[in-house]
């Protein structure tokens, strides 16, 4: 409950801050639209030469790109800017103030900055997803919708836990922003179903930088092709990673001595 209230407060601050720069929303919408057009254009070029790609039809890949942008937007609205700020806070000492506040430090560090305009990514992602579902001849029932929601939620937990672990490294190393670049580079690979990649890359994208669970699995759920086993695996991984990242954060924060003292 407290978490929701805090999220509400930070959302309001973010909204107030960003509504001063309304033109940025148009720019953001334009940039997201363009980058989505690029992604869909690549899909279009590929499907001008073939009917299926590794068992995926073009409507299913459109759905995948929709999910890609939904997750991208979700990361960029709150997780990425907040944790970026947290890592800067370790270097310049602002994190000391976070620790004095009467709420969980991990929660505060994950919510402290909201970039509301990045919701454009989420909106356009859902639009692409909707178009894909309409184009897809097969019916999407309530069961598929439930599976999709579950897959998207577990994928979100996996990605968030991964980000927390990367950010926690800042307690030991100072320049972690560069490590975040590894995530962004690997994330671009999620625009295509991970099943088509050669074995070592598929494993990297599933286990080491777990973007497979964030994008491919939910997209499979949309076309009703995800097995219950995969969903269960995703849920188990989400619980494990959430628990581990929490433990890792606590270990890291014990080590923190403050930069300003």
């Amino acid at each position: 409950m407290n978490t929701l209230r805090l999220l509400g407060v930070f959302l309001r601050i973010g909204l107030l801050g960003e509504t001063q720069y309304r033109a940025n929303f148009v720019i953001q919408l334009f940039e997201t639209g363009l980058s989505m057009a690029t992604a869909l254009g690549a899909v279009w070029v590929v499907f001008s030469q073939t009917e299926t790609l590794g068992g995926w039809r073009s409507a299913e890949l459109t759905a995948l790109i929709g999910v890609y942008f939904i997750v991208l937007g979700a990361i960029n609205v709150v997780v990425a800017p907040s944790l970026q700020k947290f890592m800067e806070g370790i270097v310049n000492g602002n994190f000391d103030y976070t620790l004095t506040k009467p709420a969980d430090a991990q929660l505060l560090a994950s919510l402290s900055e909201v970039r509301i305009w990045r919701l454009a990514d989420v909106g356009l992602g859902f639009a692409a997803l909707g178009i894909a579902i309409v184009r897809q001849s097969a019916e999407v029932g309530w069961g598929d919708a439930a599976k999709f929601s579950l897959a998207l939620f577990t994928g979100g937990v996996v990605v968030y836990s991964f980000w927390i672990m990367l950010a926690t490294l800042a307690f030991w190393f100072i320049r972690v922003e560069n490590i975040l670049q590894i995530f962004w580079a690997m994330y671009t690979a999620a625009r295509w179903p991970v099943g088509i990649y050669p074995g070592w890359l598929k494993w990297t994208l599933t286990v080491i930088v777990p973007v497979a669970f964030a994008v491919t699995v939910p997209a499979e759920a949309v076309s009703g092709r995800v097995s219950n086993g995969t969903l269960l695996g995703a849920a188990v991984l989400a619980v494990l990673l959430a628990a581990f990242s929490r433990w890792f954060w606590k270990t890291g924060i014990k080590r923190y001595a403050g930069a300003s003292s």
Binding site: S35, G41, L53, N178, I182, A185, M186, I196, Y197
Partner: protein, 267 residues
């Protein structure tokens, strides 16, 4: 002419030292450069296999050769200047560059070359990885390989001049990211990075053959693969030179207007 040629050894030395200093953070940026061709190679070799072994005149192994060389060509020709220029204006470091008696583009060219030389340490293992995983089929032709060297250099210069010119947009607007993204999207499709341009729909590849993007990346790659006839190669070199001349004129005109309206920040 003599004066700026003389400063290159000094520029290169300092740029090399600073690239070596920040080698690790530079190496992380290279992951994306290696991954992108790997992704499209995976996609296209999957397509080739599902279409009975070949699509648009490329087998899976020939795609591997295409993207292996593209990895190298893209690394050697890419620049990051469009992301950097706005900070130079915002934080005032441009003022120092303007005080120097040589055009600031020379320091950038030297920095670019030094960075690429250092990061080859990361690119080459990536290239080996690609070759081991995808087994490229590569039949080099003597004359094309010989011509590849100057063509690659022209491609580098062409891309550098274009991206440096576009970076000057930061003199007029603080919102350069939207412009950069338009450029990036065009580059992806029209240069041969998403697919060899012969696989694009006909009207797109017709456009691509008249714009400079292809001549910076796709053309050198296809030349190295020995896929171009001598006539096509010569025509390509000519078009490269024409676009080089156009961008050279463009850059000097825009630079003159840009510096005229520049008022230093940070003083």
């Amino acid at each position: 002419m003599r004066s700026w040629l003389q400063v290159y050894p000094a520029f290169l030395r300092t740029a090399l030292l600073s690239s070596i200093q920040y080698r690790a953070s530079g190496a992380i940026w290279m992951i994306g450069s290696i991954l992108e061709p790997l992704i499209y190679l995976t996609v296209w070799s999957t397509v080739a296999r599902s279409q009975g072994g070949e699509v648009g005149g490329y087998t899976a192994q020939e795609f591997a050769a295409y993207y292996a060389i593209l990895l190298l060509v893209n690394h050697l020709t890419f620049t990051w200047i469009m992301h950097e220029f706005q900070y130079r204006i915002q934080y005032g470091s441009l003022s120092f560059a303007l005080l120097r008696p040589v055009h600031p583009i020379h320091a950038d060219i030297a920095e670019n070359i030094a960075f690429k030389a250092v990061q080859l340490v990361v690119i080459l293992p990536g290239l080996i990885l690609l070759c081991v995983a995808f087994r490229p089929h590569f039949e080099p032709v003597g004359w094309s390989l010989a011509l590849f060297v100057p063509v690659l250099f022209f491609g580098f210069l062409l891309r550098f001049l274009i991206e440096w010119t576009l970076a000057l947009g930061a003199f007029w607007t603080t919102r350069v990211t939207a412009m950069n993204q338009i450029y990036f999207s065009l580059l992806m499709f029209l240069s041969g990075r998403v697919a060899p341009i012969s696989l694009l729909p006909l009207w797109v590849s017709d456009i691509a053959q008249n714009l400079p993007f292809y001549y910076a990346i796709g053309f050198p790659v296809e030349l190295a693969l020995g896929r171009l006839s001598p006539e096509a190669a010569m025509r390509g070199v000519l078009i490269q030179l024409v676009w080089l001349a156009v961008s050279g004129v463009g850059i000097s005109l825009i630079w003159r207007r840009a510096t005229k309206r520049f008022t230093a920040v940070g003083s």
